[in-house]
């Protein structure tokens, strides 16, 4: 049974004083934990005879673990909702007997009682969990005890816990947190921290509370690791962590190095998914971005399109399976990840079907077409490009806020807050290139003002001829030039509008030559943050003259003529 960490059922050990749950304030012993399992079973006995499936959600790792074991030992199975939003829970109600845990209508156990132990057969479905599918609908995936045990045995053999404390910063409603934060300590008879460790300050205090010999492992993810503060006294808690794990999305190398330095522990990343289980790992702190397949897992790259082909003991088939990620094989059996080929993205560490988000947006009234993209900047957040009826396009700050609020409203009910788009680009015509494609270059152009705060927000260009064009622009609320022009009344200075006209003429009309002088310049109307305007440009090559006119809902904001020197570089 050595290859079966779960089926060994170390939680049944006659070892009442063993520490199962740890907190600086106190410990939960195995005897306490067994009584909690018994209490859950007494609660379940009032609901139905064994052999049912229950929805379980609980943020508290020990409460979650005791409910899970109560169900398994009683002969029930478990469905783990991906989160606790009302729509998610309503979706799982039809598939389950009842809700358990910290959700509305969730049953909670009474006081302690003696547990009953059952049989955990290898082929039995232990649980179901959700992933985001490429079609847009979340997919429900069963895991048998044999599948879970195969993965847990691999992890134990590679990186044995040896009694160390597991501290988790991730949700165990998903496969990575479930395996690493809950099932590994249970299967290896090691303690887990009694509550989730959300913040770096909590982590620091917990590590400080461990004695020098007591070591812990941290189950983490890119969002918390990328945001570790330098200001905490990390040297004081040196050598308390034996390893840091990260999964859910790639951890940028620089953040991996930093986490390694501050936390004084190897930073190890896992690559895999709910469907495939674990695929590969890498020691991020070693500055090597190649992935090593887990023992028993084989990978190869598709000869035509680089797609990953996977052969894994954790799949329910022995056939090779084609995956959505693309890879490049390295000579030593390892591989490099090249990115995903479909429309699944990681947003703030959460896996999201962009197709599903697009569909949800397109269901809103007035929306012709929507495309969500991971923002081409460091934020890792989502941006939305939305084509609206021309009458619905917001032309000033207040209208834009109301439009965004209306579009967000249905999304908040259907998605987690982290994946709701943060940047919105409203267009009248779909911003495709000459080949009819919305390219990465176009997407970058639409969001470029986020990187360069001197730029207007570019929302499309109409080029009816070689020598003239109309560019749609918005004034970003955070435009660098707004501050300090007129105190208390942020407006766009005229010189900035002239600069925009010159820049955009170079970009869209191929104007070259150094700026010479201006003529007949007027700024009749103030231009305010959040306003949407059209810039009309007309180039007279024979005289090196550019006519420009910037107009909005109140009329003209800027107009004039700009002359360029022939032949000079810009």
């Amino acid at each position: 049974m050595n290859d079966s960490p779960l089926r060994q059922a170390r939680w049944r050990d006659p070892d009442p004083s063993r520490c199962v749950g740890w907190l600086p304030a106190g410990r939960v012993t195995l005897a306490d934990f067994q009584r909690r399992i018994g209490a859950w079973q007494a609660c379940l006995d009032t609901l139905a005879a064994p052999g049912r499936c229950y929805a379980l959600h609980d943020r508290d790792p020990l409460a979650f673990a005791s409910a899970l074991l109560a169900l398994w030992e009683r002969g029930d199975s478990v469905l783990l909702p991906a989160d606790d939003r009302p729509e998610t829970l309503a979706g799982v109600d039809a598939l389950t007997q009842a809700r358990l845990g910290d959700v509305p209508g969730g049953h909670r156990p009474g006081t302690g009682a003696a547990p009953r132990w059952g049989t955990l057969n290898a082929g039995r479905t232990a649980l179901w969990l959700y992933t985001s599918g490429s079609t847009g609908a979340a997919k429900r995936i069963p895991k048998s005890f044999a599948q879970l045990d195969a993965e847990l045995a691999t992890h134990r053999d590679l990186w044995p816990l040896e009694g160390r404390l597991t501290i988790s910063q991730v949700s165990h409603q998903h496969i990575y947190g479930l395996l690493f934060a809950i099932l590994r300590p249970l299967g290896e008879a090691a303690p887990m921290a009694g509550v989730l460790c959300r913040y770096p300050e909590t982590l620091h205090a917990w590590l400080a509370a461990l004695d020098d010999t007591g070591q812990a492992e941290l189950i983490s993810a890119p969002p918390p690791l990328e945001r570790l503060p330098d200001t905490l006294d990390w040297p004081r808690v040196r050598q308390r962590l034996a390893a840091v794990y990260s999964s859910g999305a790639p951890l940028p190398a620089a953040d991996g190095q930093r986490a390694h330095r501050l936390l004084d522990a190897p930073v190890r990343e896992l690559y895999g998914s709910s469907e495939t289980g674990g695929i590969a790992w890498r020691d991020t702190h070693r500055q090597d971005d190649a992935w090593t397949p887990l023992p028993g897992v084989a990978v190869r790259a598709d000869r035509d399109d680089d797609h990953l082909w996977l052969h894994s003991p954790y799949l329910d088939t022995r056939d090779w399976q084609r995956q959505a990620d693309r890879i490049r094989e390295a000579a030593d059996g390892r591989f490099h990840l090249l990115g995903r080929a479909d429309r699944i993205a990681k947003v703030g560490g959460k896996r999201l079907s962009l197709t599903a988000m697009d569909c949800a947006l397109e269901a809103a009234p007035g929306v012709h077409r929507a495309r969500t993209v991971v923002l081409p900047d460091h934020s890792g957040r989502l941006g939305a490009i939305v084509q609206l009826d021309p009458a619905d396009i917001p032309v000033e700050h207040g209208a834009r806020r109301r439009r965004i609020a209306a579009l967000r409203e249905p999304l908040i009910r259907a998605f987690e807050p982290t994946v709701i788009p943060r940047a919105w680009r409203f267009v009248e015509t779909w911003p495709v290139n000459a080949q009819g494609k919305l390219t990465a270059e176009r997407v970058e152009r639409l969001f470029r003002d986020r990187r360069d705060p001197t730029q207007p927000r570019w929302l499309g260009v109409d080029t009816p001829g070689d020598a003239h064009c109309r560019v749609t622009l918005e004034v970003p609320e955070r435009l660098a030039h707004l501050a300090g022009h007129f105190p208390g009344r942020p407006v766009v200075p005229g010189v900035v509008m002239v600069q925009w006209a010159s820049d955009l003429a170079r970009e869209h009309l191929g104007v070259t030559g150094a700026f010479s002088h201006l003529e007949r310049v007027k700024f009749p109307q103030l231009l305010l943050p959040g306003e949407r305007v059209t810039l009309a440009l007309e180039w007279h090559g024979d005289t090196q003259r550019l006519d420009f006119r910037l107009t909005g809902r109140h009329g003209c904001h800027a107009s004039g003529r700009m002359y360029f020197r022939a032949g000079d570089p810009p």
Binding site: R198, Y199, R408, I412, W424, R478
Partner: protein, 87 residues
């Protein structure tokens, strides 16, 4: 009424989180910053914690779940900064 510090914090939130459609006037000091209201999330809470440490030298202590209750809205956040700033 908005205090000087509240205005400063509004700008800090907007700049730290790179909010696009929000001006200081749009932030109601009594409206929740998270989920409803501004719609911020747990990643934003981490970012804001870092920004407060950098700007005001505020060390969030071990019981940071408790401390972050002060992130509920702008007024509670301003009270936290007022009480704990070192710079």
């Amino acid at each position: 009424m908005t205090t000087e510090l509240e205005l400063e914090l509004k700008q800090l939130i907007i700049d730290t989180l790179e909010l696009e459609d929000v001006t200081p006037e749009d932030i109601d000091p009594d409206e929740p910053l998270f989920v409803e209201g501004l719609g911020l999330d747990s990643i934003d809470a981490l970012e804001l914690g870092l920004a407060l440490q950098k700007r005001y030298g505020i060390q969030l202590e071990a019981d940071s779940e408790e401390t972050r209750r002060h992130f509920a809205n702008l007024r509670t956040l301003a009270a936290l900064v007022e009480a704990r700033r070192t710079q």
